[in-house]
Amino acid sequence: MKRKSRGAFLFLTPSVLLLLIFFIVPIILTICFAFTNMALTGSAARNLQFIGFQNFTNMFQDPDFRISVLRTLVFLIFSAVIGQVVLGFILALLMKEKNVTFRRIIGIIVIAGWVTPEIVVAFCMVAFFSDNGSLNQIIGWFGIRPVSWLFSFPMVSVIIANIWHGTAFSMMVYQSALDEIPKDIEEAATIDGASNFKILSYITIPMVKGSIVTNMMLVTLQTLGVFTLIYTMTGGGPGTATQTLPVFMYNQAFVNYQFGYGTAISLVLLVIGIVASLFYMKSMKVKV
């Protein structure tokens, strides 16, 4: 027994070391820097000083910050929870036990969005939504006048882009979960006279609950961090219309050159991620 645990320890050392160097230490540093006036340029860049909770008090007084939190939540709820998780589940459900060719064709179409790198997705979407883009040409066939989508509906545009990009992930998670439900359980329910809806809500969903929570958590954390897509499509604008927390953080750190403030914002982002994860785990009573 003792020998075994020593062996395990030996094998764990490299990964623990890597985690320590590339993850734990930067997080500790981030926490420290959040309490400083660290700046990219200007006299503050030379004299690093601890300024206590100054960054945080500034942040909570900053209307831009509050509105960014709100925008992050809107983006999260619509593009992750409603968009990807629900849509992904519906897709997986519809494709369940359909013939292989159908599943393959639909699967490839959906997964195309997922395998496309984020920056490419952003450019595709800019081309789709721009003034002379495909969307305006399509609605032009029906005699509708072109709309400046990225300007008039910036948040809707980035939400649609993120749904298109991310849904395949949820779909794949649910597909494999649904495939693992033994057929006879559902058959038994049908024989007992349960309706399709009842089978779904009393059998299918409870049986894949674990996958749902895991997937929700992964998608939430991923969406909280979405930067490339929004920054490329709208730059957080127009004005601050799509300025979610990651974009706000980037602007503070690299446009306003306030690194300390930027790291403080990143900590808040981290806390939001943790709270969301705990909420999912508690509400679904699942241990991950």
């Binding site: 990219l40 340029t41 860049a45 900053d62 300007f151 004005g239 601050t240 690299f254 306003n256 050159y257």
Partner: protein, 460 residues
Amino acid sequence: MKMNKFKVSMTAAMASLLLLTTACSSGNSNSGSGAAKGKKEVTITFRSSGSEDTLTKYFESGLIKKFETDNPDIKIKIAPVLASEGDYTSKIVLQMKSPDTAPDIVAEDTSIIKSDAAAGYLEPLDTQVAGWSDWKDKFIENLKAGVTGEDAKIYGVPATSDTRGIWYNKELLAQAGLPVPFKPANWDEVLEAARTIKDKLPGVTPLNMIVGKSSGEGVTMQTLEMLLYGTNDTLYNDETKKWVVSSPGLLDSFKFIDQLFNVDKTGPTMQVALNGQAGSIAFQQLFPQGKLAMAVDGSWAGSTWFENGAAPIENVADKMGFAPFPTQKGQAPGAITMSGGWAWSIPAQSKNKEAAWKFMEFLMNQENATGRVVAEGNLSPRNDSVDVAGYTDRTYTAEAQALLEVAKFRPANDQYATVSAQLQSIVESIASGKLSPEDAVKQLKDNVARSLGEDKVEVK
């Protein structure tokens, strides 16, 4: 036994991985020096605007070859950074922080040079310029303030200077029945001209102003300050050393932007306005295609249409004009321009400062300094450029140079970058109709007071 074998192979794999990484890292540190042949490598970094970049072409036109022939012990490497103006600043700062990545000469915008100097990224050049006779006699005196740090040391050599005004399409203005040459006496005449063009020439954007925060400093300087410094107010009070974050002039400037974009709707579409390349789109596409009548932009912008520019126009002087931007109510001196420009600096972390200075002196001698501004359509920081054939007889140079007499310079303070960033975001919000001019003043006041402290701002 099996377990042991696995362990051994794993350990071997780990060891070889470790070896590989160390090999890589040591390789990196060697390749940087390039000292194998006893040559000193001088890396020069500047902002490139793409494949048609004039400055890159200027370096590659034989300039470097000439210097290397005269100085066989020095090798010049150009390392242009392709980025928007805003990103360029943060990129070079990150490079300058480490001796491994710091270039030996860097192009610094005069709006950021004081911040970078205060941060300790730049090498003071006082001893170098003291031993350089050109510095005292040949460089325009008031431009030296732009490269002087808060500590009164010199941190760069001014390389270009510029003025700003209204570029306009003579044919379009004539078609709309406006006088050519165009010379508006006050703001109202500018707005009125834009409205006339909108009425008479549908499909033509009347007046382009840079408002997208992705255009960085251009928003503050080319749009907001061009307006503000034509009122009776300024952005910074030199006497009290405080930022004027609320003043009638500031409110009027915000109102002008609101009027142009939201009330009269005589500005560019938001898709153009918010694009980081708004300036290039205006000058390379919209102006030549006859889809834009006027644009407030820098004196260099007209060179886009020169023979070797990105979008050449034949007989350009007959087709396009350059007018001074008026003061708010036509108050003296009647016109206003902001002046800025780029400077060459040596990063504190540079490894070849001596060789770098040698190249900088070469770069900034009468012939080469003038060669660059001629190519770029900028104004020269040297007063003897007028003696170089081809400088003043370039189209628009005389008009642009004349504006230097009414030129104002940006606040000489290392917090300028912070205030400017706030203004960029606020101007974009006003232009896109998300913020009223009154709320904008309040937001500026709150935000600047919060980041710099209540004791650094004042209200007029």
